[in-house]
Amino acid sequence: MTRNIIEVSDLSVAYAHNPVIWHINLAVKANSRTAVVGPNGAGKSTLIKSIMNLNKPLSGKVEINGKKPKHALKNIAYVPQKGEVNWDFPTTVLDVVLMGRYVHKGWFKRMNKADVAAAMDALSTMKMEAFKDRQISELSGGQRQRVFLARAICHDADFYIMDEPLQGIDITTEKLIIDTIKALQAKGKSFLVVHHNLDTVEEYFDHVIILNKSVIAQGTIEEAWKKENIDKAYDDRSVTT
């Protein structure tokens, strides 16, 4: 029995008094590749943000490795949705990847050669070394996503949380990201990934959480990835718009 890296109990979140997710109970296994799937508006990003301590839930609690999220952040590498970043910001690829080092260095120390070497390693894993001096606004969608994953690798956390990393990217990058996730899993890392393409769930992940306002099903792919569960999440017209 593998231990749980995340435990969520009775979590409810509302925006402007409209409940977005309610009574969520779930567990994410350590060393798993867990997908979060559900229709638009199901509360996937909201769930991720609650786990990251980025919003204020109405009720319930989240534990990461048995600790409050606030105290576990060092151990989580977060890959944001593309729309959440200011793309006009004047910065280069290498600089973005180096941001992953701050949690380890402390804020008031300068980056040194070891930091740059770690960042370059991460970039080479994502096959982006040649772009290190490129302004981020000049990158394609797939290249941007590679840079974010490189930043997460540079962060060197045990647990990765990714919000739709495969949205709007090319096939080569998609394959590279999945291969990288699998390689990192082999090194003991865990993943929680918001995923939108139902056709690739079985191929890319070993655990799944099916969400639509509340948890419809969760567990290993064999246990939870069943037609009736998927239908239940996606066919309920009263919640999808």
Binding site: K49, M52, L54, L73, I76, Y78, P80, E84, V85, N86, D88, F89, P90, T91, T92, D95, V96, M99, Y102, V103, W107, F108, Q135, H155
Partner: protein, 291 residues
């Protein structure tokens, strides 16, 4: 004309405007990158009635009191904008335009009242706060500018990494432990305080230019945040020196407009010749580098 450069009064005033413009250039660049330039404009205009209220309360043009009045009204305006956008369907740009014009209108009405009222004396100086008149700056005005600018710059340097990550990627920054609420508050406070202390030099109407134009110039020359900040700071400083000089030598030139003219010339030149300006982009496009 050259004599002016060695005159003690000119030097004091020039030091004030140059340091102010340097600090405004650096702090304002954050607003430019965040796409919030007009918030500074609304706050700038909204500080004007604060100046006059403060004057009405104490009856003299005293630097610190007037600056405090400006700060209070700047904060007041900011929260009014927040309340309007949060609690109604009025969009941010409409809220900004409303607050800018109504606060400034209030200021102009108060100014007419005060200047026409026999109970108040020495009211001519109020006009200096509309367009700025560096020549009439007192030594206390300059001290206040230096204190506010130096504190702002020190805070900015101390929290540089936090600010950088916060502006680029707010959610990630929160995830690595940046207090985003504090960063937002800090940038806003610096902006309001710099506006308040700079009013006499540049004026309520044009102060926004000191916050915005340098960042625009910096972004036209560099892809790197630290370099953008340095270019912004120095272009602000150069324009401030030039503008202060012109307005000191030629009677009748208000300082604000002179500084802004110098700044606008730099903006134009950067738009054409900057490494991310028109000529460069055009050349790159011809070489097929940029599609």
């Amino acid at each position: 004309m050259i004599d002016v450069l060695t005159s003690y009064t000119f030097l004091i005033v020039a030091i004030g405007t140059v340091i102010l413009a340097f600090a405004c250039g650096i702090v304002g660049t954050v607003s430019v990158i965040k796409g919030q330039s007009l918030i500074g404009d609304a706050i700038g205009h909204a500080t004007f009635p604060g100046i006059i209220f403060a004057f009405m309360l104490v009856g003299v043009m005293e630097t610190y009191t007037l600056a405090l009045g400006a700060v209070i009204f700047g904060i007041f305006a900011f929260f009014t904008i927040q309340i309007i956008t949060d609690s109604s369907k009025v969009t941010l740009d409409s809220a900004l335009a409303l607050i800018l014009s109504s606060f400034f209108g209030l200021g102009m009405a108060l100014k007419s009242y005060v200047q026409g009222h026999p109970g108040f004396s020495g009211t001519q100086g109020i006009d200096d706060y509309i367009f700025g008149q560096a020549a009439y700056m007192l030594r206390t005005d300059v001290y206040l500018i230096i204190i506010a600018s130096v504190i702002s710059l020190l805070l900015f340097m101390l929290f540089y990494s936090h600010i950088k990550i916060y502006v680029f990627d707010p959610i990630f920054s929160k995830s690595v432990g940046v207090n985003t609420g504090l960063m937002n508050f800090m940038i806003l406070s610096m902006t309001i305080v710099l506006i308040a202390v700079g009013l006499k030099a540049v004026g309520a109407i044009l102060i926004v230019n000191l916050l915005i134009a340098p960042g625009v110039i910096g972004l036209l020359w560099s892809n790197r945040f630290p370099m953008v900040l340095i270019i912004a700071g120095f272009s602000g400083a150069v324009s401030a020196f030039t503008g202060t000089y012109v307005s000191t030598v030629y009677a009748g030139f208000a300082t604000g407009p002179s500084i802004i003219l110098a700044m606008s010339i730099l903006v134009l030149l950067s738009m054409v010749f900057g490494s991310k300006g028109l000529l460069h982009t055009h050349r790159k496009r011809n070489q097929g580098v940029v599609s």
